[in-house]
Amino acid sequence: MCLRDLTEYRLNKEGMVLTFIARRLLGLPLVMFGVSLLVFGVTQFLSPELRATAFIRSEKQINQIPTIIKEYGLDKDIFTQYWIWLKNILQGQLGWSSSSGRTVGDAISIYLPATVELALIAIIPIVLFGVIFGVIAGINRNKWPDQVGRIFSIVTYSLPTFLVGITLLAFFYGQLHLFEPGRLNTLVSLDAGLTTVDGYLLFPLIFKGQWFVVLDLLKHLVLPVITLTVVSSGGLMRVVRSSVIDQLEQDYVRTAKSKGLEQRTITYKHVFRNALIPVITLVGTLFFGLLNGAIITETVFNYPGIGSFAARAALQLDIPAVLGFALFAALVIAVSNLIVDLLYGVVDPRIRYD
């Protein structure tokens, strides 16, 4: 390929990437519209009376239900209700979340930061464990490291999150008085003069140099991160192992070997990179799954993330919050798929966007 051809190829590829991104972004509102229709439609299976109970706090208020139905227009036809809701959404109003006592937008914005911090920290050991032990198992196929890794991954993959969580909590916190549940010790936060512990904390605190608070924050993350690593890295390890084995059987590996390339170079320069392609999807899914809330982990460790918010909203039939969360989750998934697709291209230049 001459220089002119190469430049043309690159320009074409860049153009294709931009078109691909634009096309996917343009499709995003459509996806969200579809999700909103679906979720809204599902909520309409609940009678107006049942939806009205979200607004009452005690069975003593049971006879207020007809008034509440009228007040919130819950007895209007589905199209009118959807139209009202959609109009509000288009004006940036996701509605009032009765389960959290604030607007849905506010609720997402105060619960999301804790989850983002947990996801960012947790994804590191999950990927390190999954990839390192997956590669070791793959290149040692059917030898003892592979057998041990296989047992480990199957056991951890099958372990229920709540069991891992409460066992860790009972031992480390209950017995050793280490790693308190929650996000931050209240007294530490008061000593640090924090006016709120809602929102992003880790990076602002690092930026301000409030190291004793950072340390406390990290201590609170230890058990949730270990739990997520234990339950999530096993699956990743299996995928990495299979992918490595698959790559080791490819013709190019044989060719490289016959050319006299060292096994280490073959493994880490060629096999590893190619084996990463399917892993990207899984890591992307894991990470963005964590962003949508690790409900059980957050509940066991009293960690104030978006998962606990969504679970409470669903249990309390808080329809605006459920709808708002569904839209948020759809957005996260759509964007994450886009990012994963783009990363494919980075890792594997053969992938085309047309």
């Binding site: 003593k60 009032w96 006592g101 619960y111 930061p113 409460i166 549940p181 007294l187 009293n302």
Partner: protein, 580 residues
């Protein structure tokens, strides 16, 4: 539920391995755990649940309060408790004149005036939120508990005249009828806060201008959803970590009774039972609010070194409710809809014999011993322990299969016994006590006659509420906790035609209505007690519902906590608490 208990047992197992008791940390900071740390509101006009009430009782005060853990009314912001003898209550029982305690100031330093008292109460009456407790306050003033609506016939002037002020220190309440529980209602819901601070915050201006716009205005428009009104209480909200579900109260150093011993109270919401157990075990929590620990785990929690479990009678009453005119539309609850062994007619429970038979088929001793593990006692009527006029020797339903058989044989002219029936009985998901109670009832009833069939079914709590409100429920297990310590708060919802349960059960008894009205209007306490005794006896004889048990409140705490009051209405009053 079983899973939760198993896991909690695991956690407790690990817990009891430790022999050394944890030490009290931070002697002036009280750390409290509860299940739900998110507060729907701090606005007295909207607050009705236990969570927000527990906060408001510590940051605001009313004219009256209860003395310690009793239900004896003593003055708070009032100089004295009004009575006919001291001239505070008019002879006809319709006018209450209350003088304010001198020198009391809000936390912003401004003095408490009669105008503040008027504004605070009137605002709740006018907002009339369907999510709050305004109905309870409206009843003495307007004569009924109906909330105000936009088309109310009442004028602002009429409402305004219900509460008037004399000078800065005297407030006069004019009631529509003599109302015995007026002061207990004021203890529970008559929070006083600063009018000037409310106006500054952008709340209602207290005048008739646009007053109708206040009626049932959306909770999201309240300025007190996230912050408290400025009050006089021993504590103030310092910080509300909404996402974490943690609320921090700090001491009001200029509190009129003197500053509290605690400098701070941290209320932390923890949803997982196991996590709450670990918190109390490590000493990171000093105590749990009432109900923070499931009854099934209390015996094990009690065995943790340094942790104590205290039980006190709660003003609650559980019962089994039977609908006398079931709306069978959109459900399959009536089966065939006939008395043919495959269903029931919609008015099946309107025959008192059926209800009596159900009452005689419940094994009350087993409920108390096995289901409640002695965390409760049998009560057969609305006059429960802790209320004035309670009679321990009042008649109680007895588990008596012979009596149940006799009543079933007499029901519907003998057809019930001859043909049999089939109907569902409901409990709310997750409530294993109610589930087992109904399963015991089913077993006992079905053992009387093979043609009798009861299906125990579960539904989400809100579904039961919804269906009971729509008169669709057939039989269900439920319960009530007091809003204020007066027999009226049980007689009315359980037995009056316009009460919660009778409305859902389509039960109407004019004699009972008359007696309840007479009792609530009677200002002589001795006479009231006699009237309520009659109400309770009639409620017992007529069996519109089957009262089963009165619960016990369970308080879990570390042994270093001192001075904790166990008031059934005012919940935890942090002012009296200290740590060793």
């Amino acid at each position: 539920m079983k899973k939760t208990l198993l896991l909690a047992a695991l956690a407790l197992g690990a817990t009891t391995l430790t022999t050394a008791s944890a030490q009290s940390k931070d002697p002036t900071v009280l750390k409290v755990v509860t299940i739900e740390g998110n507060f729907a509101t701090f606005d007295p006009a909207y607050c009705y649940d236990t969570a927000c009430s527990n906060v408001l009782y510590n940051v605001l005060e009313g004219l009256f309060t209860y003395d310690g853990d009793t239900t004896t009314i003593v003055p708070a912001l009032a100089a004295e408790v009004p009575s006919v003898q001291n001239g505070g209550i008019s002879k006809d029982g319709k006018t209450y004149t209350v003088n304010l305690r001198k020198g009391v100031k809000f936390t912003d330093g401004t003095p408490v005036t009669a105008e503040d008292v008027k504004y605070s109460i009137l605002r709740t009456l006018i907002i009339s939120s369907d999510q709050g407790a305004a109905g309870l306050l409206l009843e003495p003033f307007t004569g009924n508990a109906d909330l105000l609506a936009a088309d109310t016939k009442l004028t602002f002037e009429e409402l305004d005249k219900m509460i008037t002020v004399k000078g800065t220190d005297t407030v006069v309440f004019k009631l529509a009828k003599p109302f015995g529980p007026f002061m207990p209602t004021m203890v529970g819901f008559g929070y006083v806060f600063s009018k000037s601070a409310a106006l500054k915050a952008g709340e209602w201006d207290g005048t008739g201008k646009d007053w109708k716009a206040q009626i049932n205005k959306d909770i999201s428009t309240s300025k007190y959803t996230k912050v408290q009104p400025v009050g006089t209480g021993p504590f103030m909200i310092e910080r509300n970590d909404e996402a974490q579900g943690t609320l921090i109260l700090k001491r009001n150093d200029s509190y009129w009774r003197g500053p509290a011993k605690l400098s701070r109270v941290i209320i932390e919401g923890i949803k997982d039972d196991n996590t709450r157990i670990q918190k109390i075990k490590t000493g990171d929590a000093d105590f749990g609010l009432d109900g923070a620990y499931p009854p099934a785990l209390l015996a094990s929690i009690d065995s943790i070194p340094g942790v104590v479990v205290i039980k006190k009678p709660a003003l609650t009453l559980a019962g089994i409710f039977m609908n006398e005119k079931i709306d069978g539309k959109n459900t399959n609850y009536l089966g065939s809809g006939k008395l043919d062994g495959n269903g029931i007619p919609d008015n099946f429970f309107s025959d008192k014999n059926v209800r009596k038979a159900i009452a005689a088929s419940i094994d009350y001793d087993s409920i108390v011993r096995d289901l409640l593990q002695n965390n409760g006692r049998q009560q057969s009527n609305v006059l429960i322990a802790g209320l004035p006029g309670y009679n321990e020797n009042a008649p109680k339903y007895k588990f008596d299969k012979a009596a149940a058989t006799k009543s079933f044989k007499a029901a519907w002219g003998g057809k019930v016994w001859e043909i049999g029936f089939k109907f569902p009985a409901f409990f709310n998901t997750g409530n294993s006590t109610r589930q087992k109670l109904l399963e015991m009832l089913k077993k006992n009833v079905e053992s009387l006659n093979p043609k009798f069939k009861i299906e125990v079914r579960e539904l989400p709590f809100k579904q039961i509420l919804k269906e009971a409100g729509g008169n669709q429920m057939v039989m269900w297990s439920g319960g009530w906790s007091a809003d204020f310590a007066d027999p009226y708060n049980f007689a009315q919802p359980f037995l009056a035609s316009d009460g919660n349960y009778p409305r859902n059960m389509n039960y109407k008894n004019e004699t009972l209505d008359k007696l309840i009205n007479q009792a609530v209007s009677e200002s002589n306490p001795a006479k009231r007690e006699l009237l309520y005794a009659k109400v309770a006896k009639m409620g017992f004889d007529e069996v519109p519902f089957v009262a089963t048990t009165q619960g016990l409140s369970t308080y879990v705490q570390r042994d270093w906590v001192q001075g904790r009051n166990f008031n059934p209405i005012l919940l935890d009053q942090f002012y009296f608490i200290s740590k060793k």
